[in-house]
């Protein structure tokens, strides 16, 4: 592999670089971190028309090599071959936005000064034309001294020509062209001159985007539209996902029943049906919700609306010492805190970023939904509280709200104490609106779904299996309760001493142990606990919700809900926080403060409910 040619894509943010990368390499991309920093490394294989394969990497978007963010620092070091452990790229593909040449050509001068074989992809020429710009690629090519290929990455235009130009550039690999080295002012002047020569016609066409922004960024209508959009997203996450989740659930149930019917009765059969199939099945049912939420997030990002949402939310976030940039990570955290915490990389200010990481687990992630769902179904009557609002939905809404309010309060407190610092800035380019390509969205969804399934397939699977073993051994003598005798029962006895004062029973203590792996495991753990405890098939078949409603008091159920608003019961989140903060200090603080809040609020909820006679 050592003689494989390496191609690197680089350019300003919003040049359409990732869409171009998708078209050059396809869906099989390797996403990892650059060692030692929390910047994503995206790599893929580029196949030329003659079948030659090259390694391609998509470098983070940069405005300049003179870094003001960790992303730009990585781009500079990799492009110059100074990043330890990262091979120097042989060919550079410089992606420029045809509609914003004067700006993008500034960084282009810096890249060209490296002297490496370079090809310019003059991207989004269709949008430039729509904006009334007419460009001459030949003039640009002569001025820069490198080949220029016109592309429209989202429409797949110019990809073959770009590949042909890359194939051509192979002959120059290893040579360094002598190109002028300029300072920042000279670069800007040169960019202006070249852009003027290249763009031979500008009509003052009123841009469609301006008209859209007049509505979407209207000081009064804009926030309202965002609110409605968020409401639609959550509605979709619940309503659209339900039939798909039910189908997956039924599938897991049918598989379990089939295995049970086909296999002779044995400990292995119980392990497969009650441990493996039930456990993994209880997690895979979230896949539809995660995919639907990410579908919206990816569309918002690809169209350019996400930056507007950040603009609209900046005022509110500034109120608790954060910026609009924290909005995207926090929104992602409603699906899952892991992609949310990873998305904090776009926040340049380290204290802003740390605060956002610490509050991300308070956003109600989809893993809490089954826990909330089972308890609400069991304890909250499906009553109408007027105006067509159901009591069950209202309780769910309050649980979401509790998480959001807690996150804002915690952010405010942290910014005044542990992450104190001067008010941070918010400088953000609002990219032009763009119709995204279905293929790009599909690739993004596939990457997210794969990360989730891999997690479900490993951590959650192992946790469920370990719990099953802990619950099944040692086996009870006739007349004894299996739960009481098991190893897990003995661990729960110890934990119960601490949790009893806040209204938790031993079954809850038992479920919380494996639920450290992931919150949703609490449901399968409770199901497993009560299922194994039952002596006949009929009781086992009884729904978990109806079992709980007869065994738990209402104050206990409410306290359990309050606990899950706060408790950091997710090993993956803790692991990601450790990786993103480069140490155990902050994850330890995060786990500590969240458990403390969980204990206090579960206790308050329990004793308030008891006092009120619920």
């Amino acid at each position: 592999m050592s003689d494989t040619i390496r191609v690197a894509l680089l350019g300003n943010p919003n040049a359409g670089k990732s869409a171009l990368f998708n078209k050059l390499t396809g869906a099989r991309q390797k996403i990892a971190n650059y060692p030692g920093v929390t910047v994503e490394r995206v790599a893929g294989i580029l196949t030329l028309p003659d079948g030659t394969q090259m390694e391609a990497i998509d470098l983070p978007g940069a405005y300049a090599f003179d870094a003001s963010s960790p992303d730009e620092d990585v781009t500079r070091k990799v492009a110059q071959g100074e990043f330890p452990g990262e091979a120097e790229p042989d060919i550079l593909v410089l992606v420029l936005d045809a509609g914003n040449l004067e700006q993008h050509l500034v960084f282009a001068q810096e890249v060209l000064a490296l002297g490496k074989p370079t090809i310019v992809a003059l991207n989004m020429v269709d949008m430039a034309e729509r904006d009334g710009l007419k460009l001459d690629a030949t003039v640009l090519s002569q001025a820069l001294g490198v080949p220029v290929v016109e592309t429209v990455a989202v429409r797949r235009r110019g990809i073959d020509q770009l590949k042909a130009a890359i194939a051509e550039a192979r002959g120059q690999v290893g040579t360094l062209a002598d190109r002028p080295k300029m300072d920042a002012t000279e670069r800007r002047l040169e960019a202006r001159t070249i852009a003027k020569a290249t763009v031979f016609q500008t009509s003052r066409a009123r841009r469609i985007g301006d008209r859209l922004d007049n509505v979407l960024l209207n000081p009064w209508i804009g926030p309202l539209i965002l609110l409605v959009l968020l409401f639609v997203i959550f509605q979709a996450v619940f309503a659209w996902a339900a039939p798909l989740s039910d189908a997956l659930d039924a599938g897991a149930g049918a598989l379990g029943a089939w295995v049970k019917a086909e296999m002779p009765e044995s400990i292995l059969r119980d392990f497969l049906t009650e441990g493996v199939i039930a456990g993994v099945g209880s997690v895979v049912v979230f896949l539809p919700q995660i995919i639907i939420l990410f579908l919206f997030i990816l569309i918002m990002e690809a169209t350019g609306y996400m930056a507007r949402a950040a603009f609209l939310m900046d005022r509110l976030m500034a109120g608790v010492g954060l910026s609009g940039r924290s909005f995207i990570p926090l929104l992602s955290s409603f699906a899952c805190a892991i992609p949310g915490i990873m998305a904090t990389r776009s926040i340049a200010d380290p204290k802003d970023r740390l605060t956002t990481i610490l509050i991300a687990p308070l956003m109600t992630c989809s893993a809490r939904l089954p826990v909330y769902g089972v308890l609400i179904a069991a304890f909250i009557p499906a009553r109408d509280v007027g105006m067509g609002i159901g009591l069950q939905g209202l309780v769910m809404f309050c649980l979401y709200l509790a998480g959001i309010v807690a996150a804002l309060v915690v952010a405010l407190v942290l910014r005044g104490t542990l992450t104190r610092g001067e008010a941070t800035g918010f400088i953000m380019e609002l990219p032009r609106y763009q119709l995204p390509s279905i293929a790009d969205i599909a690739i993004g969804l596939w990457q997210r779904a794969w990360v989730f399934l891999r997690r479900a397939g490993t951590i959650i699977f192992s946790a469920t299996v370990i719990l099953w073993v802990l619950l099944s051994f040692p086996q009870a003598e006739p007349g004894e309760s299996q739960v009481d005798v098991s190893i897990a029962g003995q661990i729960a006895d110890g934990l119960n001493v601490v949790l009893e004062p806040i209204g938790f029973n031993r079954e809850i203590s038992l479920a919380l142990v494996p639920a450290m792996a992931a919150r949703e495991v609490a449901v399968s753990a409770l199901a497993t606990t009560y299922a194994i405890d039952a002596s006949d098939e009929e009781a086992e078949a009884e729904g978990l919700a109806s079992t709980l409603s007869t065994r738990w008091s209402l104050p206990t159920a409410l306290a359990f809900l309050a606990w899950f608003v706060f408790a950091p019961q997710c090993l993956s989140t803790i692991a990601v926080a450790r990786r993103e903060t480069n140490g155990w200090k902050w994850p330890a603080f995060m786990v500590g403060y969240l458990f403390a809040l969980a204990y206090i609020f579960a206790g308050i909820t329990y004793w308030s409910a008891v006092t009120l006679g619920l």
Partner: protein, 79 residues
């Protein structure tokens, strides 16, 4: 007059920028986005609910969101 008091739809030229009033990272980023004396800017949008924090400014062919504190460091003259 400084940038944050420019009314939506109005244009002006940047007269000077008080770089010392800005954190170094903000200054670097603003320079990279093309903020410098002599450049024409226009106010595209004010922030939510009539506030001016943040504002959206048109510069070149881009729209850039800025906070009031950053916009206040940019002094304007008639275009």
């Amino acid at each position: 007059m400084t940038l944050e008091s420019l009314q939506p739809g109005h244009r002006a030229r940047i007269a000077s920028i008080d770089w010392d009033a800005l954190p170094p990272a903000d200054g670097k980023r603003m320079r990279a986005l093309g903020f410098e004396p002599g450049v024409e800017v226009s106010m595209a949008h004010h922030g939510v609910f009539g506030g001016r924090d943040p504002v959206a400014v048109s510069i070149g062919r881009m729209t850039i969101a800025l906070r009031k504190v950053q916009a206040a460091a940019i002094s304007l003259e008639q275009a």
